[in-house]
């Protein structure tokens, strides 16, 4: 049974997206990869549920493989 939320859950999507894109301004490719990884780790810890995280990993990897 799926536990990962895949319907819209962010109140103000455009504000959120800008927050994310502003994060990478003035960073090198290496710095961006590091910042992204740190962000993933922080959010995963916040979620804390291995089943949810496994579902998210599966979807992310599947889309990339297409």
């Amino acid at each position: 049974m799926a536990k990962l939320i895949t319907t819209a859950n962010i109140a103000s999507p455009d504000d959120f997206y800008q927050l994310l894109t502003d994060m990478s301004i003035d960073l090198s490719a290496e710095q961006i990869a590091l910042v992204n990884a740190r962000l993933i780790l922080l959010l995963c810890n916040h979620i804390g549920d291995n089943q949810v995280l496994a579902e998210a990993v599966a979807i992310a990897a599947k889309t990339a493989a297409k």
Binding site: T21, I59, T63
Partner: protein
Amino acid sequence: MLASYQFPQYSYQRSTDQDSTTPIRHPVVIIGAGPIGLAAAVDFSIKGIPVVLLDDNNTVSVGSRAVCYAKRFLDISDRLGVGQRLIDKGVTWNIGKVFFEEEQIYSFNMLAEEHHRRPGFINLQQYYLEQFYVERLMQFPRASLRWKNKLIDIQQNQQTVTLTIATPDGSYQLQADYVLACDGANSNTRSLCGLESKGQVFQDRFLIADVLMTDQRFPAERWFWFNPPFHQGSSTLLHRQPDNLWRIDFDLGWDADPEVEKRPENIIPRVKAFLGDDVDFELEWTSVYTFGCRRMPDFRHKRIFFAGDSAHQVSPFGARGANSGIEDVDNLVWKIELALKGQASEELLNSYSEERGLAADENILNSTRSTDFITPKNPANKVLRDAVLTLAKEFSFARPLVNSGRLSVPPILRNCSLISADTDSFDCAVEVGSPCTDGPITLRKEERYLLSLLGNKFHCLLFIDDHKQIDQQLIEEIVRLKQCRQPIDTYIVLKEPYQLQLPDGVAIIVDHLQLINARLDASNQCFYLIRPDQIISARARKFSVDSLLNMQAHALGELR
């Protein structure tokens, strides 16, 4: 010369003002007969104010240019008496579809509610729009539309603006109480005043191809492609216009050479790759353009007011140019009307720049974000953007993040000085500072739309559940609203038909579908105060003439 449109030639005519030894004074002079200047001239004319409208050219917009007109544009055009012509000629659409590579990832509807008089959008070539507005203005004998009149100098003091104008017959001077500069992104008036519009220029180039095609494979919808097979690594936008004309917009990137890209031999293969080899089409008009987002810090320069692109400019994604320009006109003209009668406070005149500045900031923010999504600023943002697009078809959470243009809706004038904040609670999408909602109602047994009854003066909507409450005392109270300095006309909104002889300025309307009640979260005795531009300036749940008059004074900037 276009295959589908014959440009009108408006002739220069010498004005008797040019024979005068001293400059003739007019209440209002408008610079620029584009969509915004024309709309302003019509708005002054229906208010009985004679206008002079100057344009340095002698025809309408060459090329299609602006295409998409939003619901609010149509509602304002209805008030100005042009709405139906726009609808009759335009292509109505509400649906937008977004594609990624070969697949549709989602669609959206610009008209979220039924029972509005006007649709979410129409598409119409700018030259038709201007032509219809010119013809509307010609119905007012006191309006003076002067072609081949170019502003070459403008000066102002406390009382007067003095304009120097070049014509084929030499130059002459005019004086005006107020001037509206509607002369576009490269405003000559703005330069002559030594003022600037500042912001960001985007490093990208786009190709517009307006294509004549009788093939009917595409519906009347807005279609947007990210990375389509026919234009890889980039984006394409398609809109249908009247006369079998189609607007195709290709993103070319910053490195494209505009001179090379403009050549038909380079445009035709791009269009063929898109439409297929078997489709017959003809290039009607093409342009390679760049754009910026910028605005003036203040849209008011004493007696000179800037409206439309002269005041603020946005990228085209979202159709926020002409649509915000006409909202400027809507906001400004009634305020200047009061100023001409000596009845406008400084606060009221300054509220134009406050309110429309807020709108410009919102439009610039939205169109900047769209541009950043469509052409990401760095590789990391492109990866992020592509991640969103690869998820959006299967997972609905990603769809609100896809940004192919946030299409024009009127901004809500939140926290603006002359809008009364709610003191009672209302649970509806319509807020103070938004345009009033629309919906069918009945007036004297005739079905009408609510917005067709509002505008050009202050109105009060008073919601009454039971007609027995309409007694002599209530009517006497309401009549006081009509007798104040800026008279307020009242519509008593009932749910069931009821006949009653009422004094001038008071009428009963029936909300027979009870949609207005629902959309405004109305209750018995609840009232809305609506400005001459149909913006809700105040509302409350308990009707009181004294508080209503107080709210109007606040809306006019007369309360300190």
